[in-house]
């Protein structure tokens, strides 16, 4: 290129850039400082993933619920720091004797973020909205389907039967029958109250199937609730979600002016961000980092365990497991005390049953199965199963609150099993890459597998009912066991008991039977997940349900 042509090219480039610059205009406020946190600071939380969307009804994942929880409230709430059900938008509730009609007395001082009043009509509008979903909505509204069983097109199979506003601040919800899950399920984030006007204007139910996914209506990006924070913006390009304090909140207003959730997928990066002081906290720090984080002046907030890790056994895949003595032998072979001490975070406990002691219906009289390799060998010999082979699986590419490192847990269990003469054949698959399909398939593909569960709310059925309540479709293959149907029936019968004390006693008895007579799987441990906040952050109340509300959080100096 000659010098002349080169100059011409540069001139053209500079002119083009200048023209583009002329088109671009700053949208900024005059001071140029932008957003900012207002008077009381900003709480910046490092999120492991981006939210799905902002309508909690269609949401399914913890990262979304963590955000929507700050903006929405349900009729019932959860006492911070526990799993106990407490009043939220409803101050009182009572049922008829049959447990089929529930009368809720509502707060009379609540307005939605858009100024619309919260009243009985709004409550019924919300329930009818959730109930009346199109095909796509029924698939996406997963939590409703899970707890209510069906939608309006299959009303007779739905737990929810209707809602009536019997006064300005009194609503009656009808159910098809008594269940321990109702009204506790109203603490679920998905069943939060949303502004009827905003739902209507944003065509909230206009969800549609498109290809292999769902397209969500405008409302899903502009949610309106009653909570202590209102929706600010989602900066997708920078991966941050901003919520602003609701100064008209009916309760005590939040301590900080803003919460920003920054999406930081990599855990070591979240830790470095905390160390650099650019975020104020993050969830699920790796247990091996807890001590180091504390030493650096951070505060590791450990939650009470509300989960269970178990060794699933599947007699459909391996008929030798139909023999109770074989299952007991495997249980005696496992040194769970050592596993808890070496592989799980501080505060983890050996499980005696399929639910943690924070759940109503926990049987305090059950003792842990003792670690006894000799007894394991004896039982195996008695059952004629010496040298049996177990196709034992663990998942990869996953970490759950109840199993921070599945491979290490598997290794510990495998060593114990081999020590009593069981041949272990290893199987692995990634969590989303076939593991769950193989476990939950009918029949399941693995003889033994590690899996767990974190409770949705304080309900025994949410644990043991999920595991064994559905005879034909559960991960433990209980339909081939002589007691499988009895267990499923007992669970349903207990779930329908209206009287709380009576129901609690029934749960305790079922827990005893499961552990002493049936032993469909082997409960291993309960692990306390933690979250960590940096120096100067106060007021975080760790929740067993990982349902922290950040309105009590203050961000000060060190």
């Amino acid at each position: 290129m000659s010098r002349k042509r080169s100059v011409a090219a540069w001139t053209t480039a500079v002119l083009a850039a200048a023209a583009l610059a002329g088109c671009a205009e700053s949208d900024r406020d005059d001071d140029g400082s932008g957003g900012g946190g207002g008077d009381d600071g900003t709480f910046v939380f490092g999120a492991a993933g981006a939210p799905e969307m902002f309508d909690p009804f269609y949401a399914t994942d913890g990262e979304t619920f963590r955000i929507t929880r700050q903006m929405f409230e349900g009729l019932l709430g959860i006492e911070p720091g526990s799993a106990e059900v407490v009043p939220e938008l409803a101050t009182e509730w009572e049922s008829n004797e049959e447990g089929t009609e529930w009368t809720f007395t509502l707060r009379d001082d609540v307005t939605f973020h858009d100024g619309e009043p919260f009243n009985a009509e709004a409550v019924c509008y919300n329930f009818e909205r959730m109930f009346d979903q199109n095909d796509a909505g029924q698939t996406a509204g997963e939590y409703w389907g899970y707890v209510m069983g069906a939608f309006s097109n299959d009303a007779e199979n739905s737990l929810y039967q209707g809602c009536e506003a019997t006064g300005e601040f009194e609503a009656v919800i009808s159910t098809s029958g008594p269940t321990s899950g109702f009204p506790t399920m109203l603490t679920l984030e998905s069943l939060s109250m949303q502004s009827p006007k905003a739902l209507e204007e944003g065509d909230a139910n206009g969800i549609a199937a498109e290809g292999e996914g769902f397209s969500f209506p405008a409302y899903a990006d502009a949610p309106v609730g009653t909570g202590p924070f209102t929706f600010g913006e989602y900066d997708e390009a920078n991966g941050s979600i901003t919520l602003t304090r609701n100064d008209d909140y009916w309760g005590e207003t939040a301590q900080v002016s803003e919460i920003v959730f920054r999406v930081i997928p990599d855990e070591s990066t979240r830790r470095q961000e905390l160390e650099a002081g650019s975020i104020n906290g993050y969830d699920l720090p790796n247990p091996v980092d807890w001590a180091g984080l504390e030493e650096d002046g951070n505060s590791v907030e450990v939650r009470d365990p509300f989960n269970i890790l178990y060794l699933g056994l599947n007699p459909e895949a391996n008929p030798q497991l139909e023999d109770l003595r074989v299952r007991q032998a495997i249980y005696h072979a496992l040194n769970r005390e050592q596993l808890v001490q070496t592989q799980l975070p501080e505060g983890a406990a050996v499980a005696t049953q399929f639910m943690p002691d924070t759940v109503s219906g926990y049987n305090t009289e059950l003792e842990p199965y003792p670690y006894d390799p000799d007894e394991a060998k004896r039982l195996l010999a008695e059952a004629g199963a010496e040298g049996m082979t177990l196709n034992f699986a663990y998942p990869t590419e996953v970490s759950r609150p109840y199993m921070p490192d599945p491979q290490k847990i598997y290794e510990a269990l495998r060593t114990d099993l081999e020590a009593v003469g069981i041949n272990v054949k290893v199987s692995t698959a990634s969590w989303n890459g076939g593991y769950l399909d193989n476990v939950s398939g009918e029949p399941g593909k693995y003889d033994a597998y590690i899996l767990g569960w974190t409770g949705d709310y304080d309900s025994a059925y949410n644990f043991i009912g999920t595991f064994f309540g559905n005879l034909k479709d559960n991960d433990f293959g209980t339909d081939v066991m002589p007691w499988g149907k009895q267990l499923a029936d007992d669970l349903k019968a207990a779930d329908a008991i209206v009287d709380e004390d009576e129901r609690g006693a029934a749960w305790e008895e079922i827990n005893r039977q499961i552990m002493e007579e049936y032993l469909p799987g082997l409960p291993i441990s309960h692990s306390p997940p933690a979250l960590v906040v940096g120096p100067g952050v106060e007021g975080v109340i760790p929740s067993p349900l990982t349902a922290e509300e950040f309105d009590t959080v203050a961000v000060g100096g060190e």
């Binding site: 583009l20 610059a21 671009a24 205009e25 700053s26 949208d27 900024r28 140029g32 400082s33 932008g34 900012g36 900003t42 993933g49 981006a50 799905e52 399914t60 095909d135 698939t139 997963e142 899970y146 498109e210 290809g211 292999e212 996914g213 769902f214 397209s215 969500f216 899903a220 997708e236 390009a237 920078n238 991966g239 941050s240 920003v260 920054r262 999406v263 930081i264 997928p265 990599d266 070591s268 990066t269 470095q272 961000e273 160390e275 650099a276 650019s278 990634s430 969590w431 989303n432 890459g433 076939g434 769950l436 399909d437 939950s440 398939g441 767990g452 559905n470 479709d473 559960n474 991960d475």
Partner: protein, 336 residues
């Protein structure tokens, strides 16, 4: 020339068509899928089947592929199931692309700015400790995994010395105007200098980490090429003519040695795209690479399909540009 370009473009369409089928079949042949990602522990056989039916995943693969292509020809590549549920997969690519372009551009600039001078100096000082040191440096750069390099860079520059941000593209609370999605350029265009400076500071560490891949290649090609050219007859002739060392180095050695380097730089696009997957993940950089990583983890088929196809298209296009450049230089190629 036009016929050459048209022929190559048609070939490219053919390549993309075949690739679309392969990617489609490959993704869906892998065990698991989006349903596991959506249901988690809540998955049961019945719920899995219901969801697969709702999403059309229960249909035979050829049927699914025909449906996909029918929609694709009308510009609909489906919506994301997990990365950003409900968002058009193509929109996700377009929204994320500027971040990756910005990062790749700066990484390439760093790689060239360091690789060419160092390669040249190493060649000129061949066999000296300086040569050995730079060769080792380039090897270490490419041999050490990007996530480890990134971890060290973040640890020292961001955590220990607090000079640069740990991750992300922009500081929280900075209200910057967006024009192109290239944050540094946006700051310049809107004359929001603090925003441009902030974006530039966020760019330094990720582009340094990503630059380690092309740097090694640029450095080694430059070094080898300069060594070759220095042995050429015309250099000896120039020396015999009594030209100054500066003229010989600038006009005869460096300029001729740059031809293979320029070609190599063009071909680094693929390496940059693959390197971006890790770099963007560890730097929370909301680009195509991070979306690709999320998509794989969550089995988001529509997003994966679009991103892989788009990456392939970019790669093929860059190769086409390289070929066109060759054709311009060497007329024999056009007739082949």
């Amino acid at each position: 020339m036009l016929r050459f370009v048209v022929r190559r473009l048609l070939q490219m369409l053919g390549v993309l068509l075949v690739l679309s089928f392969l990617v489609f079949v490959w993704l869906r042949s892998l065990p698991g899928g989006p349903v596991s990602a959506l249901l988690g522990e809540r998955q049961t056989e019945a719920r899995r089947q219901a969801l697969e039916q709702a999403l059309g995943l229960d249909q035979p693969l050829p049927v699914q592929y025909v449906r996909f292509m029918q929609r694709a020809f009308s510009g609909d590549f489906g919506v994301s199931t997990q990365v950003l549920p409900g968002e058009d997969a193509l929109d996700i690519f377009l929204t994320r692309l500027p971040a990756t372009l910005e990062l790749s551009f700066f990484a390439l600039v760093i790689a060239i700015a360091l690789g060419i001078p160092l390669g040249y100096v190493a060649a000129r000082r061949k066999g000296t400790p300086l040569d050995t040191a730079t060769v080792i440096f380039s090897l270490v750069g490419v041999a050490v995994p990007v996530f480890f390099t990134a971890f060290l860079l973040k640890y020292f520059f961001a955590v220990e010395w607090n000079l640069l941000p740990v991750s992300g593209r922009q500081s929280i609370g900075l209200d910057a105007t967006r024009v192109t999605g290239l944050f540094v350029l946006d700051g310049i265009l809107t004359r929001e200098w603090d925003a441009a400076w902030d974006a530039l500071k966020h760019l330094v560490l990720p582009s340094l980490a990503l630059a380690t891949i092309p740097f090694a290649v640029v450095f080694r090609i430059t070094r080898a090429s300069v060594l070759d050219v220095m042995d050429e007859d015309y250099v000896r002739t120039a020396e015999a003519k009594g030209l100054t060392a500066r003229v010989i180095r600038g006009r005869h050695v460096l300029r001729n040695a740059m031809l293979p380097v320029v070609t190599t730089v063009g071909l680094q696009v693929g390496a940059l795209l693959s390197g971006a997957v890790l770099t963007e993940t560890v730097f929370s950089w909301r680009g195509v690479g991070q979306a690709l990583a999320e998509g794989f983890l969550q089995k988001d088929y529509p997003v994966l399909q679009v991103l892989i196809m788009a990456a392939a298209a970019i790669y093929v296009l860059v190769n086409l540009l390289v070929d066109i450049t060759y054709a311009l230089i060497d007329p024999r190629i056009r007739t082949r």
